[in-house]
Point group: C2
């Protein structure tokens, strides 16, 4: 299959560039028509690949793209999931080339969505296309279910899966939206953290006030917010919200050993990020903190005057965006309620606080001994000549838990990204080697039944 | 003089509307040409009023407008100072009418700069014009020195005054840029707090990071900034920067009495601002906190994702803007150094902080028994039928201290604003009654020599 992939490599990359040039940012409403364009483009790509019953299914948010090919009588069915939406691109000034003008440099393709998830998703479309063109048929039944709302936590895919259990029924769900351990070392992720995201708005007076006339005498919304946010962690880096750790599994020696077996170069990572030291919950390693422990991070803060120079006001409004990663039996709704309680208990006198929940997803755990996961491991091994590892990922793909529960099918997280590929950050990119080898690996996997 | 003012009232207000429609925002560099337009407009207004030697003097920043009329041989010279620049207008969405489209409603004129300071400054131009038109001459010598950088702390007026001591020489400096106690109760301010303003930038990693892969394991710039800023005040609302209070005068019973004599309706102010309670340094009243005590206020904060929805990043950069009001013998440079030391001592591990000083002005104290101030008090009394009070203002007009020191002349702070007129805030306005009575009062004052 390698020869076939190499033969079409240039053409496939040109197509991917076209896909990446669509700014399908799901979080920003002004990009609505671009997200739709992404779905349309994808539908055409699936048709060209030879998939059948291609549908662009409208939802309350962004469309879901469905397609299938189900002529492999008596063979298993693989449901391939991915997402065509991308993260916002700001801060724009930190991009070396524009985020939606894909560029190939040093055997990497640079663009927003290159690794998360358009590049990884496109691997599957090209794998299916090559198999269909070669033999006129596929070795298994294949369904595609591709959403445009992964970056905003899949609000409409969740009910869609519940309503279309039969249409989506499969023997395995195959997803490429995770990372290798490092270049050349593939990985099949067996655990994903849950997620919770919220916005917090704090108000004091009914207007901004002159700091000369009122400063020192009235509550300042930024001071109040700063005090409130600082109360969310204690001096040991632990989350100070009462009851937050309920449902978090005990970190046993066995679990610690399992985590520590995944190679990680602490010094190299620090150097790469420009950090003198890591930071986090006392008593845990970096891999434990980011893989098996829950977190609470402020993703953004804003209040008062933002422009050039100074404006001597006492701000009356301030905002923060917060997200948590959850593990084990932590329930996102319970954690949200705990945070709301904390905020009401700790908000400084003179301030009013309102919360707005944005994302809610349960943690998920997969069994590496499952047949499907073992077959995926063998496919990797045949292409990359090395056995994949089975790490526990710190990130969240909220829909994995829903697929796994509703379809009662094993989920195979067959990632082709690298964690160094700046996903969610400026200068996102994808290694072309993993794009082409990815196509080979997926072909190997599908042909193994 | 009342009849003359009434006769021309409509014309004067139309002229003021024209002046207010120029968005001469000194802090924002994209408004540079509008600030220049403000200076040009003012030059023409001074010429029309009959002033001589009108000059638009370029500086490194925005121009200074100068004019004089010096034919009153043997009479004292009054130097009138004001500023034609205004504060930025954001948040725009909170304005009921556009900030640079002046509107008259309920006997008030609404626009950015209406009370601070275009409306108050224009009083003097119209007073001089009426006197010159009536008698062909002025009862005293008058000089105007009007700047376009008051809202950015007068960086170029300070050296200009030093270099033009002789040109600006005067027996009194007359300034209308302060407030009444309340409607109908004029005030001559006898003390202004000093000011210090700075920007703080905090950095952690060299890029924003995915909160799934790195959250909980690396320093978060917003967490670090929140912790650092929260360390600036203690639990009792005192500023926790070591040595900050050096040079702050003891609050004696006499000083407390003086402050408490200025009427202030605590409940009405709370209701007007939508506040349940005031807030500030323990052991001091609202008037003390905002008049004779120093302050440290965060004027703005920003970091991480600001858009709609959520972006699950660990931010690597965060910024804050901070300003202080200073009293007594506090030295702005010393206070800046103390804050810098505090920031370096308290910045959380893994963060780098840089400071940038924006404003620096010494506190100033004036003697209410001075002859010029007493004459101003009499002028108010003749027009308003009530004796003005002599409050200590919480605000800063950095140049007052420089005028007073370099020209060795008493400064008369003859304000016509009201503190409720939303200066530095949305829906700034100016009471037309104080505009017309202001013209009468200034005529009375100038005719008293």
């Amino acid at each position: 299959m390698k020869e076939k992939v190499d033969l079409h490599k240039e053409q496939f990359l040109n197509e991917l560039k076209e896909f990446l040039s669509i700014p399908s940012i799901s979080a920003l409403s002004e990009y609505k028509s671009e997200v739709n364009k992404g779905a349309e483009w994808l539908g055409e790509a699936l048709k060209s690949a030879g998939m059948e019953h291609v549908e662009i299914i409208e939802t309350k948010g962004h469309p879901i793209v469905y397609a299938d090919w189900t002529h492999a009588v008596g063979k298993p069915t693989v449901l391939i999931y991915g997402h065509y939406d991308v993260q916002p691109a700001d801060p724009l000034e930190l991009w070396e080339t524009p985020p939606f003008e894909p560029v190939i440099k040093d055997d990497k393709i640079f663009a927003r969505g290159a690794t998360d998830d358009k590049g990884q998703l496109y691997i599957h479309i090209k794998a299916v296309e090559l198999l269909l063109k070669e033999k006129g048929s596929l070795p298994v039944n294949v369904k595609f279910c591709i959403e445009g709302e992964e970056e905003v936590a899949s609000p409409n895919l969740d009910p869609f899966i519940h309503e279309h259990e039969e249409k989506l029924a499969a023997d395995a769900v195959l997803i490429s939206d995770t990372s290798f351990i490092e270049k050349g070392q593939p990985a099949i992720c067996t655990s994903l953290r849950g997620a919770l995201a919220l916005e917090l708005e704090l108000e004091t007076a009914n207007t901004d006030l002159h700091s000369g006339s009122y400063g020192g005498g009235v509550p300042n919304a930024v001071h109040c917010l700063v005090k409130l946010l600082d109360s969310l962690h204690d001096e040991k880096g632990r989350i100070a919200v009462e009851g937050f750790y309920e449902g978090v599994p005990e970190v046993t020696e066995e679990l610690r050993k399992e985590v520590s077996e995944i190679p990680f170069d602490e010094e190299a990572t620090k150097a790469e990020l420009g950090l003198d030291s890591f930071y986090g919950e006392e008593g845990f390693s970096f891999k434990e903190r980011t893989g098996i422990r829950p977190t609470l991070e402020i993703n953004g803060i804003q209040g008062g005057f933002q422009g050039e120079g100074i404006k001597t006001i006492v701000p009356s409004q301030a905002h923060a965006k917060i997200s948590c990663r959850l593990v084990g039996e932590q329930n996102p709704q319970d954690v949200y309620n705990r945070i709301e309680q904390h905020v009401q208990n700790y908000k400084p006198a003179g301030s009013k606080v309102t919360l707005n929940q944005l994302i809610k997803a349960k943690p998920v755990s997969l069994d590496s001994r499952d047949l499907m996961i073992q077959k995926a491991a063998e496919a990797y091994e045949r292409v990359y000549k090395v056995r994949p590892l089975f790490p526990k990922e710190g990130g969240s793909i909220p829909i994995v838990e829903v697929f796994s529960r509703v379809l009662a099918a094993p989920v195979v997280l067959m990632g082709f990204g690298l964690s160094s590929e700046n996903l969610h950050a400026p200068n996102e990119h994808f290694h072309i080697e993993n794009f082409t080898k990815g196509i080979e690996t997926v072909c190997e996997f599908l042909q193994d039944f």
